[in-house]
């Protein structure tokens, strides 16, 4: 990979459901280690873009390049193995397992069922589990069932699971959904910390949160690319104001 080559490039992507084009010729690139926020009004196609990148929906047209290689034909597990991992909007933790087991399974390097039969420990990389637990601030709850956590803690746990997979690109779909201002601020801190070592693509509606992340913003509208720049630039952009910020105000 040449230093200038993007980590992820989405090229002319089209996703249509029975004639409705949820994504309509969208393109963007993300460099290694870059943090980017994706905003846009409801129905702009942000979550669908995540779906396409992680392999949950198959695009009708276009390419998704990971370090220059088209990954459209890979399944979800294959893409996670390459280094892409996604957090969903509604927290998807494994409620019956403990916090440490949740992260342990995510961190596990071997995914072979046969090898798993020979180990009683939830993971083969316990030091990663400890690191991630400290990072998301849930050390004290490590043996608590994930289902017993508060909503905000579940969001952090799921971010922790995504981090524990060791991915180079984290897709975070509304990581602050359902959080109060205090928790939102902590989440922004966490993401800024995580952003030092890996690329992150965040979808969020909360402008205060986006401001705290302090990173470039891409605006989507009706499945298309609309604008890109700093949050301040976007606020000044009349086209953006019309479809999005104007609407919100």
């Amino acid at each position: 990979m040449s230093p200038l080559e993007p980590l992820l490039a989405v090229d002319g992507l089209v996703v249509s459901y029975a004639g409705f084009r949820a994504i309509d010729g969208f393109s963007m690139t993300l460099g290694p280690g870059e943090t980017r926020v994706l905003i846009g009004p409801n129905g702009a196609g942000k979550s669908t873009l995540c779906d396409a990148i992680i392999g949950r929906v198959r695009p009708t047209e276009g390419r998704i390049l990971w370090k220059g290689r088209d990954i459209v034909r890979l399944d979800e597990a294959g893409r996670v193995a390459l280094g892409i991992c996604r957090k969903f909007q509604a927290p998807g933790v494994l409620a019956g397992l403990t916090v440490a087991e949740n992260i342990g399974l995510a961190a596990c390097r071997t995914r072979s069922w046969w090898k798993a039969l020979r180990s009683r420990r939830p993971t083969d990389r316990p030091q990663i589990v400890d690191e991630v637990l400290e990072m998301i601030g849930l050390e004290l709850q490590r043996d608590v069932p994930a289902g017993a956590l508060s909503h905000g803690e579940k969001q952090w746990l799921e971010i922790g699971m995504v981090v524990a997979t060791g991915g180079e690109l984290l897709l975070l779909d509304e990581p602050t959904a359902g959080m109060g201002p205090q928790e939102t601020r902590r989440t922004a801190e966490l993401l800024r910390f995580l952003g030092r070592e890996r690329a992150i693509l965040v979808i969020d509606h909360d402008m205060a949160f986006v401001e705290q992340l302090d990173c470039p913003v891409t605006v989507m509208h009706q499945g298309r690319f609309l604008a890109q720049g700093t949050l301040a630039q976007m606020r000044a952009d009349p086209a953006v104001a019309e479809v999005y910020l104007g609407q919100a105000a």
Partner: protein, 301 residues
């Protein structure tokens, strides 16, 4: 040989009609609540026995017509009771519902055995159902003889399908059913009483099966386990037809009925059953996006 294939196709159509009557209720309930009612076959059986009772009391001529009403209402009431006593308590647990309703099926079968004996009862056909149509076609000795009872079954199933389609499109209950099937939470938020809709659909599905029970009583004896024989193909129809579409269910019933009937021209019933199953499994291989299309934002819709 052509006549044999023709007769097989015709038989396949009438069996498909009964499978459809059983599958419609299963598909409606599955589409709405994502549960499989293993006692559904017993509603067919109940319909069959109610037809037997009606024709025994009123004579074959009036009995068959009256039984259409008695069987559908009777089975619908039974369905409502089953829903209130068992299914309602298990809504978020589809596999547990399956087991509990299976237990119910065993109890109902044994009840039928105790009441009517282990050997089947025959429903006496009225004169207008026991003849054959199409004798003129048989003039050259090689034509088709279409039994009137089977024609009646076809007509009845087609009528039910039509009425059900119209009811789902044009009544308030139909609208509520479609709304709840698409999005429970949203429907509830709009003020639809989801529990009552579920109760109504469960009863409706049972009533349709009861009606199907009358039809199967026209074809052969009603036994305590007759429901089992029809319900397994009906399950396959539901799988093949997909969720939330009457047309899909009808097409699947037709397709499976014809596959099974044609297979029986070449092989025996036992192999035909295996062929039907393999057909369904093969179909699942070809469907590209798996069975359940998940929604985007949450992990588990």
């Amino acid at each position: 040989m052509d006549a044999l294939i023709g007769a097989q196709l015709f038989n396949g159509l009438s069996v498909a009609s009964i499978n459809l009557m059983a599958a419609l209720g299963l598909a409606l309930v599955f589409g709405l609540m994502r549960v499989i009612n293993m006692a559904h076959g017993e509603f067919l059986m109940l319909g069959g026995y109610l037809a037997f009772l009606s024709t025994s009391l009123l004579g074959p001529a009036a009995g068959v017509l009256v039984s259409l009403l008695v069987a559908s209402v009777g089975a619908a009431v039974a369905g409502a009771i089953v829903h209130l006593l068992v299914v309602r308590h298990l809504l978020a647990r589809p596999l547990d519902t399956l087991l509990a309703t299976w237990g119910l099926a065993l109890i109902l079968q044994q009840l039928a055995r105790d009441l009517f004996g282990p050997i089947g009862v025959e429903v006496a056909l009225p004169a207008w159902l026991s003849g054959t149509a199409g004798e003129s076609l048989a003039a050259d000795g090689d034509g088709l003889a279409l039994p009137a009872s089977r024609l009646f079954i076809l007509a009845a199933a087609a009528a039910v399908l039509g009425v059900l389609h119209l009811a789902l499109r044009h009544t308030r209950l139909g609208l509520a059913i479609r709304a709840v099937s698409q999005d429970r939470m949203m429907a509830a938020a709009l003020g639809i009483d989801v529990r009552r809709v579920e109760l109504a659909v469960f009863a409706l599905g049972a009533g349709l099966a009861g009606l199907g029970g009358v039809l199967l009583a026209l074809l052969g004896p009603v036994t305590p386990t007759v429901g089992q024989a029809y319900v397994v193909p009906a399950f396959l129809v539901v799988i093949l037809g997909g969720i939330g579409s009457l047309g899909g269910t009808a097409a699947a019933a037709l397709l499976l009925g014809l596959v099974s009937a044609l297979a029986q021209v070449v092989v025996d019933v036992a192999i035909a059953q295996l062929v039907m199953l393999l057909f369904v499994i093969l179909f699942l291989q070809l469907r590209p996006e798996g069975l359940v299309v998940t929604r985007s934002r949450a992990l588990d819709a």
